[in-house]
Symmetry: C2
Subunit: 205 residues, 2 copies
């Protein structure tokens, strides 16, 4: 394949977003992360804060059932807001991939673009200490219990991903490249993604 | 950390073993794969063919229970042969890691050496077509149904790994680096492992 799209999935605080941004800068292509949220907000009319919280995270599998049980589901023929948001994101991500080379961070993009042969899927994770440190230093967040905060956020991403893709989040076989940023370092991870994007398709045995 | 040990886990036919051998050659250190089987055979008195088949693969979780139920288990105070083999492998892998820098292919080495800070854990996987092709060309094996053969072998590795480590085989977070050899190519994967081994420990943010 000729890599045009790079998707970046990541544990919270692993630095995956930073890697996505740096890779995009090096390639001179856009990185869709916060810009994606703004785009979804414009097209859906939903608040950015709502999209941030509901476009990648799900409280639990029960939350989806609860949405349906409120009568916004099958009976009324209207999709619950979480499903509507997913569909809008889904369509925007497919349109972006069709239109231009780009990096897309999160939001099940690896799954949404799974039929494309020009897409390199990556996943980043890190040790808890590294993530807690980044949470504080890079994101400026100071939750009461950082470890619990990070575990909870991961669990919600996992639930969201499982619900909409049927796949398990973080399984190596779903990605072309995964790396531990706390051991390899963010700088090297940027280089690894660039090398992988260059090599993909010309792979020999 | 200062990487001294590199463990290579892999889907059958992904080329992980080849990557391990090439990395070891480049670093001028031994690669323990078939050599490990021979070493285990010498120390255990078991046949190499038995070790190959039972040192990484398990029919099913029930097979372990069946072993116990044969009376070689708790009642007699003697461990079933599969557990004895695991313990011998476990001890040999720990001794090797203590003694010298090396690459170790398979056999739950990532888990066995999990307490070491000088160990880089990698995992390789590939698309089915690539693996079937390698099965035929690189290993010279011609099973009647190659796809079923590969699925079965993976399933047995997964069962074995789960039984002895309690972890899920192939989850990205268990490894410092994972890659799809069919998309990135074996040559690049060798370079990625070498770069990761060099960088590990000096990781910055």
């Amino acid at each position: 394949m000729n890599t045009r799209i790079i998707t970046v999935s990541r544990e919270v605080g692993s630095g995956g977003r930073t890697i996505g941004q740096r890779v995009a800068e090096r390639l001179g292509i856009p990185c869709y992360d916060r810009e994606l949220v703004a785009k979804i907000a414009r097209e859906s009319g939903l608040a950015e804060s709502f999209i941030k919280e509901n476009g990648e995270y799900a409280e639990s599998a029960h939350a989806f059932l609860f949405n349906w049980s409120l009568g916004t589901g099958l009976e009324s023929g209207v999709l619950p807001i979480s499903d509507q948001l997913y569909l809008i994101q889904h369509n925007i991500i497919q349109e972006l991939a069709e239109k231009e080379s780009c990096v897309i961070v999160g939001r099940c993009a690896d799954w949404i673009l799974r039929e494309r042969a020009d897409c390199l899927n990556t996943f980043f994770h890190a040790e808890m200490r590294f993530r807690m440190d980044r949470l504080l230093r890079a994101y400026g967040e100071k939750p009461e219990n950082p470890e619990k905060f990070l575990h909870d956020r991961d669990a919600k991403r996992k639930t969201y991903y499982r619900h909409y893709t049927g796949r398990q989040w973080g399984v190596a076989q779903n990605y072309h490249l995964t790396a531990d940023t706390s051991v390899l370092g963010i700088d090297l991870c940027v280089e690894l993604v660039l090398e992988a994007a260059r090599a993909a398709g010309s792979a020999g045995q």
